[in-house]
């Protein structure tokens, strides 16, 4: 392979990286709009228009960036950048609808989980560096929350990987997202195993609001209590980047859940239907239509996951105290996750 072809490939990849990043940000802000609208409707409010998050970001980008006295400036300004880079990089490792991930095979589930932990760390570091007492309290809570939801998250990942190892054999990496998405787990577990996987899905859904710092796990930025906590000193572009990071993280987490548990595509059904229709529909255009249907289906799955995992939960529950939140993840949710693992193992041996 000569240098020109490598360079050509790289240029194309760089274009794709830009494209996926902007698609991720666009989808994140769009779904944030849906989330806000749906939440408002559930509370009998009219709510903001769907495009409100885009306006919020545009406005934040035009505002002044203020750094408080005694803050460690380079950490304070660097944290939002790191917080946005991590979920965008994670997006490159995940399949987006019918499209394979750009970095297919270069990283796996473990890498994505670690990348997902970085925004929380960046938030905490930014809060600690801001020299504000409110932000310090918020950052401390963020650290505690992160320590708490990592255990159920790890249990979920291990359960899926354990089952994948059994399905594909020891020679293939069971943590590979490509392997997981091409072998939908539900088809390989029996009734007991299916119950176990359902518990694991529940565990991941419980982790979702914690990862995103949404209610009932919004202790780190409790507005009514510690004046937006970690973000109290953030303004302008820095706050804008944190805002975008949170929305992209939502898309990454929802895509991860889709990849792990619901990697189904509608195009297969569509193909069968078209064949049944015979000569009525032209077969040639099926490829494009199949792709379009799969993209729409993926967007619909995203909406469902965000609705059940974020919107519904944050409207239905009030904020926990930080020790209650920590207990929630360490005891009941971890036990549910371990039960799920147990059921999957028992289901495989019976």
């Amino acid at each position: 392979m000569n240098i020109e072809s490598i360079l050509e490939g790289w240029l194309l990849n760089v274009v794709f990286i830009f494209l996926i990043s902007f698609i991720g940000i666009f989808l994140g802000l769009l779904y944030k709009g849906f989330d806000r609208k749906i939440s408002a409707m559930m509370q009998s409010r009219i709510g903001p228009p769907i495009i409100q998050p885009f306006r919020d970001v545009r406005k934040l980008l035009t505002k002044e960036t203020i750094v408080p006295e005694n803050a460690i400036e380079w950490i304070f300004n660097g944290a939002p950048i790191i917080a946005l880079i991590a979920p965008l990089v994670a997006l490159m490792y995940l399949p987006i609808g019918p499209f394979s991930p750009l970095l297919e095979g270069y990283g796996d589930l473990i890498l994505v989980l670690y990348l997902l932990a970085i925004p929380a760390i960046a938030m905490a570091v930014g809060g600690f560096s801001s020299s504000s007492p409110y932000a310090t309290v918020g950052a401390q809570r963020e650290v505690v929350l992160m320590m708490s939801y990592e255990l159920p998250l790890a249990i979920s990942a291990i359960t899926v990987a354990w089952k994948m190892n059994e399905i594909v054999g020891p020679e293939t990496n069971p943590f590979s997202l490509q392997v997981i998405s091409s072998n939908p787990i539900w088809g390989h577990v029996g009734l007991i195993g299916g119950l176990g996987i359902a518990l694991i899905v529940f565990t991941l859904f419980a982790v979702l609001p914690g990862e995103l710092s949404k209610e009932p796990f919004g202790q780190a930025k409790a507005k009514t209590e510690i004046a937006d906590g970690v973000f109290v000193e953030y303004t302008g572009r820095n706050l804008g980047l944190f805002y975008i990071a949170n929305t992209v993280q939502m898309i990454v987490l929802a895509s991860l859940i889709i990849t792990l548990f619901f990697p189904y595509q509608l195009s297969n059904l569509l193909e069968r239907w078209i064949i049944l229709q015979g000569p009525i529909l032209p077969i040639v255009e099926m490829g494009v239509w199949a792709l379009l249907v799969d993209v729409v289906f993926y967007l619909f799955k995203l909406l469902l996951i965000i609705y059940f995992g974020v919107s519904l939960v944050r409207v239905a529950f009030a904020r926990f105290q930080i020790d209650k939140a920590s207990y929630f993840y360490w005891v009941p949710i971890s036990i549910i996750g371990l039960l799920g693992l147990l059921f999957v193992v028992v289901g495989a041996t019976v």
Partner: protein, 112 residues
């Protein structure tokens, strides 16, 4: 097919760093999209504290190890309380623990 791909494309930290740098460029572009009319957009002011006087650089802002995990330790206090109680700071107690642990290990080893 899956096996082939996995063999060809392995976990690669260099790829991660390169992609991180390129995505960093994307983030920088977004950062620069902001209003260019503010030439010097940063100025210093006291952190917001609901009108109270900021503690400045004093130790009031310092969160020590015992406070950093508050919430976590409180949530699992049933687990931590006996552990903290066991740490009396008296050497005799630690020696007792040592002897008891050795005895248990030896009993277990004897039966195994």
């Amino acid at each position: 097919m899956i096996n082939q791909l996995v063999l060809v494309r392995e976990w690669h930290p260099l790829v991660l760093i390169l992609i991180g740098l390129i995505v960093g460029l994307v983030v920088y572009v977004i950062y620069r999209l902001g209003n260019p009319s503010f030439k010097e957009t940063r100025y210093k002011r006291e952190p917001f504290l609901s009108g109270n006087v900021s503690p400045g650089e004093s130790k009031a802002l310092h969160i020590g190890g015992s406070n950093l995990y508050w919430g976590f330790t409180r949530a699992l206090k049933k687990y931590f309380k006996p552990l903290v109680g066991a740490h009396t700071g008296i050497v005799n107690d630690y020696i007792y623990w040592f002897i008891i642990t050795i005895a248990i290990v030896m009993v277990v080893l004897y039966f195994v």
